[in-house]
Amino acid sequence: MSRQKIIEALESNKNGERNMGEIYFKRFTFNQLAEHWAMIGTFMLLVISGMPLKFPDAWWSPVIINFLGGFAMRTQIHHAAGIGMVILGVYHVVYHVFVDKESLLDRKVWPTLKDAKDFWQTIMFYIGKAQAPKYGRYSWKEKFDYWGAFWGMVMLCVTGLIMLYPFQAMEVIPYAYVHLSTIVHTDEALLATLFIFIVHWWNVHYSPEVFPMSKAWLTGNLSEEQMKHEHPLEYEEVMRQMNEKGDKSFSR
C-alpha cells in the first residue's frame, strides 16, 4: 500500500466545508510516468515509420515516407526507435522485478478471479442487466491493457531483432522463422496500433468520463472524484488504512 498514500493536500476550499480541501491520490510513480512517456515516443515513431511498409500500396505510404525524409531515413528511424523500445522493455522488467522492493506476488497487476467476474459484470452492465462493477487499483481493462502491451512488446522486440539481424538469427533458427517474423511482427504491430488507437484512447481520451483526456499520464495523480468513481474499492481501502493510522483529518 506504500504507493497508495495520499500525497498531496491542497489549501482548504473557500466554503470551508472540508479541512483538507481537494486531495489527490498517487496513481503512478515518476518512474512509471517516464516509462510511459518513453513508450509513447518510441511507439508513435515506430507506427509512423512502420505502417507505410505494412501497407506499401496505400496512397499515404509514399506521403509518409517522403515526409520522414526518404526510405533510408524511414528505416533508420524505425531501427533507432525499435532499439529504444527494446531498451525500455528490458529496463521495465529489470526495474519492476529486481529494483522495486514490493513483493512480486503482492502486485495488484496480476489477473485474479475477480477480474473474470468483473469482465462478465461489465458486459451485463453494458446491456443494462447489472450495476457497474467496482474496481480495485486496476480494472480488468487496465490489466488487459498492461498484459496485452507486455505480450506485444515481447513479440515485437523478438521478431524485430530477428529482422534487424536476419543472418545472425539464421545461425540459430531456420529461414522459415525469419520469414515468419515478418508476418508476426507486422500482424502484432497492427494489433497493437489498432488496440492503442481504438481501445486505449477510448478509455483515456475519448470516453465522456475523461474527455478530453485523463491527466494521470502527465501528473501521475487522480482526483478524489475520479478515485471514488473509477477505483472505489481502492479508495475505501486507502481511507480505511489512513484511519487505522489514526490520521483523523482524513475521516469524513
Binding site: 507505410p52 511498409l53 506499401p56 505510404s61 509514399p62 515516407i65 526518404g70 526510405f71 533510408a72 524511414r74 528505416t75 461489465t122 458486459i123 452492465f125 453494458y126 446491456i127 443494462g128 496485452g148 543472418f167 539464421m170 545461425e171 533458427i173 531456420p174 529461414y175 522459415a176 522463422y177 520469414h179 515468419l180 515478418t182 508476418i183 508476426v184 500482424d187 502484432e188 497492427l190 494489433l191 489498432l194 488496440f195 481504438i198 481501445v199 477510448w202 470516453s207 465522456p208 468520463e209
Partner: protein, 317 residues
C-alpha cells in the same frame, strides 16, 4: 526600299554568304554520318537506335544486321542488303550477333536455363534482346535501361508474370514470382526509391540464370549463403546452408510447400529439415491472424457498448 531589295542586299553581304556555305557543309557532313539509306524506310527503328548505347559508340545498322559497310547514301541501299546481310535474325540467332563482341556474356548466357529452353525448341525463352531491348539498347547504368538494376523486376515480369507463357507444360513455372517478390522488403524498399536492394538478377544471376534445382545455380540451397553474402549485399553472412533452403517467393503457401517440393526432386535430407519449420510457421502465422482479428473485433465491440451505455440507451436491448 522594297522587301526584295532588302533580301538582295542581304545576299550581297559576304558574311551571310560565308555563313550559308558553312551551314550547308555542316548539314552535308551530319547527314553523311547517318544511316540515311535505312532511315528512309525504317524511320521508327532508326529513331530508337539513336537512344542505343551502340549508336553513341559509333556502330550502325550494318554492325548487327550485316551487309555492305558503305551504306550512307540512299543510292546504295541495294548494296546494304548484300553479302552477309541477315535482316531480321531468328531468336536462335540473336546470340550469334551479340557474341561477335560480347563473348564473355554470351558464354555465361549459354549456361542459363533460358538458352537451354531455346535449344530444346522453345524460342520464346528469353534471349539477349528480351532483357536489353532490341534497337533501344541502353547502357546498364542508364536508369531508363530495361536491364538497369531497379528495372529488372519489371523486365523479368514481362514473361514471368505471363500466365499463358509460364504455365506451358514444358515450363510449369508459377506466374506469381513478381507478386511474391512484392511481399519482400527488397521490393518495398525499391518501390520507394531505395535502390540498394536485391532485385531478380542479384539472386538469380543476370546471364547465368538457372533453375534452383541445378546444383550450380546461385539459388540452389547450398549456394544461397554465398548468394546472400555477395559483395555490397549482406557481406560476411554466416549460416548453415540448410537453414536458407526456403521458399523465398512463397508467402502464404508455407503449408503447401510439400507439393511443390516433391516436384523439385531435391535431396530428401534437406526436405525434412525444410518442411518441418515451414509447416509450423504456417500455423503460427494463422494463429496471429486470428488473434489480431479477434482481439480488435472484440474490444471494438466493447468500446461501442461502453459508448452506448453512457448514452443511457442500454434499455433498448
Amino acid at each position: 526600299m522594297s522587301l526584295s531589295n532588302k533580301i538582295y542586299s542581304l545576299f550581297k553581304n559576304k558574311y551571310t554568304l560565308i555563313l550559308m556555305v558553312l551551314l550547308s557543309i555542316f548539314i552535308g557532313v551530319v547527314s553523311a554520318q547517318e544511316d540515311v539509306s535505312c532511315y528512309h524506310c525504317h524511320t521508327k527503328v532508326v529513331n530508337e537506335f539513336r537512344n542505343n548505347i551502340h549508336y553513341d559508340k559509333g556502330f550502325n545498322c550494318a554492325s548487327c544486321h550485316g551487309g555492305a559497310e558503305k551504306s550512307n547514301s540512299s543510292l546504295i541501299s541495294n548494296t546494304v542488303m548484300s553479302g552477309d546481310f541477315v535482316g531480321r535474325p531468328t531468336r536462335n540467332n540473336i546470340t550469334g550477333i551479340c557474341s561477335k563482341c560480347h563473348v564473355k556474356e554470351t558464354e555465361d548466357y549459354k549456361t542459363s536455363i533460358h538458352w537451354d529452353a531455346i535449344q530444346k525448341g522453345h524460342p520464346e525463352a528469353a534471349t539477349c534482346t528480351d532483357c536489353h531491348g532490341i534497337h533501344e539498347i541502353r547502357a546498364i547504368k542508364d536508369p531508363n535501361s530495361s536491364s538497369n538494376h531497379h528495372n529488372s523486376p519489371v523486365t523479368c515480369a514481362k514473361c514471368h508474370s505471363n500466365n499463358e507463357m509460364m504455365s506451358a507444360w514444358y515450363y510449369g513455372i508459377k506466374a506469381d514470382r513478381f507478386d511474391t517478390y512484392k511481399e519482400s522488403f527488397h521490393w518495398r524498399a525499391l518501390d520507394r526509391g531505395y535502390t540498394l536492394v536485391a532485385t531478380c538478377a542479384d539472386c538469380h544471376e543476370n546471364h547465368k540464370t538457372k533453375s534452383h534445382t541445378d546444383p550450380t545455380s546461385s539459388t540452389y540451397p547450398e549456394n544461397i549463403p554465398k548468394t546472400c553474402g555477395k559483395e555490397n549485399c549482406h557481406e560476411g553472412v554466416n549460416f548453415d546452408a540448410k537453414v536458407a533452403g526456403g521458399l523465398v517467393h512463397d508467402k502464404e503457401s508455407l503449408h503447401t510447400a510439400e507439393l511443390k517440393w516433391n516436384k523439385t526432386g531435391m535431396d530428401s535430407n534437406m526436405k525434412d529439415y525444410f518442411l518441418g519449420p515451414f509447416d509450423l510457421a504456417y500455423w503460427i502465422a494463422i494463429f496471429f491472424k486470428i488473434l489480431t482479428t479477434t482481439v480488435i473485433g472484440f474490444f471494438t465491440g466493447m468500446v461501442i457498448l461502453d459508448f452506448l451505455s453512457r448514452l443511457k440507451i442500454q434499455r433498448r436491448f
